[in-house]
Amino acid sequence: MPYDIQTWVKVAAFSGGGMAMGFGAIGAAIGEGHTAACANEAISRNTKLSGDIFKAMLVGQAIAESSSIFALVIAMMLLFTKFPEHVLTVPVLFGAGLCMGLGAIGAGVGAGYPAGSCCTGMARQPAMSGRLSTNMLIGSAVCQTPAIFSLVVSFILLFTDFSKSPVSPTWAAILGAGIASGFGAIGSGLGGGLVAEASCDGISRQPETTTQVTNVMLLGQAVTQTTAIYALLVSFILMFKTFPETHLLAPPMALLSAGICMGIGAIGPAIGEGFAGKSAVAWIARNQYQVADLTRVMLVGQAVAESTGIYSLVIALILIFVV
């Protein structure tokens, strides 16, 4: 029995919405659970501060939750908005849902780490509660950046008019764009969380180093996001470049593979860079006279860890422009 376009658009909207919220629910829940575990530990160590720690836990969990709320927004939009009946709407809805769902995983888990170590840090060093909370807010907000990139790509997919583009390679470009930004955000969110966790830990261990620790944390997180930015770049190229119409199967597959290549290739380097940043921040708190050396080693190490992400970028660009 043949189905008309309207049915396919509905199918894509429902499956996209399901994927957005399904995948999107993974990360934040893990992160929030980690925060709650750390808060329990902190309260049992320092029972007098239970009120403050409880508040810090709730604030941290609220930030970790925001990536899931992005996914919820996209899922609701997919379910309740009326979309134009066009063939290309099908990959658009599917890609937007996949992009936001996958993109919310890393940021949710990542934002849970600094919130947890903020709670334990408050128990250890109650006098630094204010600075710890500020640092945690900055750190977990920066963790959300990859999820925000995914949200932006989903919004652009949903609100751009693709109806004038040729169907044949564009469907693959749209799906590829969603996949690239979705997978690409996983590692960066997680890695950024590791760096921020170490910074909250470091501040509570050595309050004198607060300024240096926050600065190096921002640097480390920024470099950790680099591969997510490559994924965003590939998504933008796939969405905004006009491709010539084709009836062959190879050109669309090249565009789709470019997205897959950049998206999955971005996961590993970002987590690795997160480890480098975590350790650098943790040791700056212990050895504050070596800030310059530790920062340089961190950046060089992160650059080397990132090289596999750059290979993915090169292959993705070759797939788009050469093949």
Partner: protein, 224 residues
Amino acid sequence: MEDLGKIHQLIIHIFGRDFTFNVECMVMTWIVIIALLIFGYLAARKRNIIPNLLQLVGEMIIGIFYDLTEDALGEELGKKYAPLICGLFMFLFLCNWLGIFPHLEEPTKDLNTPLSYGIMGFILAHHAGIKAKGLKTYLKDYCEPMFIMAPLNVIGELAKVISISFRLFGNIMGGSIIILVVSYLTFNLVTPPFLNAFFGAFVGTIQAFVFTMLTLVYIAVQVA
């Protein structure tokens, strides 16, 4: 909602030639430059042992960035590069905050602005590297750890320009798209001020700082 796809581009063609000017971005950049000039003039006009408010703000910014630069580059080079780093931060900071005001757009929302400053930082860092190490050692550093790795090292250096400029561009443009879409979905009720506070003020400050620090650190890595 229609302006989402073709983001903020006002292009002028002159006499059939391909000269395209992004007027909006240029006007906004000049607004930022003039605002900074006025701030600098007012802050330095009545210098006193007991500073007035503007002098205090100016001294604070300059103090912070001179310290950061000297920490990263050492006493002598730090004094040389600190004005640049300080100016870069103040410029980007004001650029990112500009979108908070109605009818004004962030110049950094246009890829041209972050990309120019990314390329500027790239050239500065490599110029500093060649000057500090000499051309031979500088070129030799590309062949680490093996000679075959040279092309990949060059790609890695170029990727730094992409990452630094797309980080700023993606954050600022992403913020403005989210503000636009959410305002549209909620019929401009309640949420826009909070979103502006988060994406304009908070993210804008952090990204301006990150861009400045990364430029500084790229110079420091080349010099060391």
